[in-house]
Symmetry: C2
């Protein structure tokens, strides 16, 4: 039966056959796999519904959101809240600045730091856009009750917390002395 997507049951069956010999952490595997399926699906829907008319990417929107909620903020803190690296933020902020949605200002006391804030244009955009965005968030979560949404959010938060608290330690243990191979990509040393 070609052309049909495989069902969850079929996949689990195939996995079981393939992994018969392994000690499989089945439930955890299912959770992790579905986090990514869901994240990709939700992101794509929101980009193609609420965001596309304003020519915003997901990440661009998140950065605007952070600035909208928190007001003027230092870049490191925006990157942290938005869940992206500071290097990525530099690029996003440049894009948003070029579209006059975000302003960049030097820190009054520390020449290294930079403050980001929404322009009036950016504020106005968020006031119009947020209700639309939130409506789509509600749409994707339609099959879940409010309580189920909270359960879901709590479970996910626990995973994030686990990694924040123990992730680094764990990675150190796994390396166990050996040093991590450098990423294939990334800036090279001059030497």
């Amino acid at each position: 039966m070609p052309g049909r997507r495989r069902s969850i049951a079929e996949t689990e069956q195939a996995v079981q056959e393939r992994l018969g010999g392994f000690e499989l952490q089945r439930e955890q595997m299912a959770a992790v796999a579905n986090i990514h399926r869901a994240a990709a699906a939700v992101r794509q829907h929101l980009e193609n519904s609420a965001l596309r008319p304003h020519d915003l990417t997901w990440t661009g929107f998140v950065v605007l959101w952070v600035l909208w909620i928190w007001g003027e903020a230092e870049t490191w803190s925006v990157a942290e809240e938005a869940g992206i690296s500071k290097g990525t933020l530099t690029g996003i902020a440049r894009t948003l600045e070029s579209r006059h949605l975000v302003a960049r200002a030097p820190h009054p006391e520390d020449g290294r730091r930079v403050l980001l804030s929404l322009t009036p244009e950016g504020e106005e955009l968020m006031e119009r856009l947020f209700p639309v965005f939130n409506a789509e968030e509600a749409f994707v979560a339609t099959p879940l009750s409010a309580e189920e949404c909270l359960r879901l959010a709590n479970g996910l938060r626990a995973i994030v917390a686990q990694l924040e608290e123990h992730g680094e330690e764990r990675r150190r243990q796994l390396l166990d002395g050996r040093d991590l191979a450098p990423r294939r990509s990334g800036r090279r040393s001059r030497r």
Copy 2:
């Protein structure tokens, strides 16, 4: 107190103040936001623990995984299972092929199609790598019981299903006649 990450409670407080005037779908918003936080955190941990020693990216691993479980498969189906676009798969497959982990073969009956499969080298890698990967999946899910993992997975699956079943229809309705502005990026017509 500069330099400290904002707590969930602080964020919710700030959101409430900022959004006092809006009809806010609070639970759904929390769920969607945390899906992305968790997805990014998990992906980063796995890339920097299990995958980095083998110089694999997340997506590269997922593609290998799909081929490992399902065996030889057509590209469209691999892209579907891996949750990426077929254009992206072309690039990933090229990378994996250059590292002799994946082989590409023409479809015996249809010259347009291409079949992907693991090389023996790729099989061997997955046999060694999967247990390590699965152990890290278990690690990130440590705070959750097996049953909670399943609940989480089910909730996420429901969201994915919602979008698969009703996403396209919804986007059509939202547009309501107007045609979607083209993406800023993407190939341009010759005209």
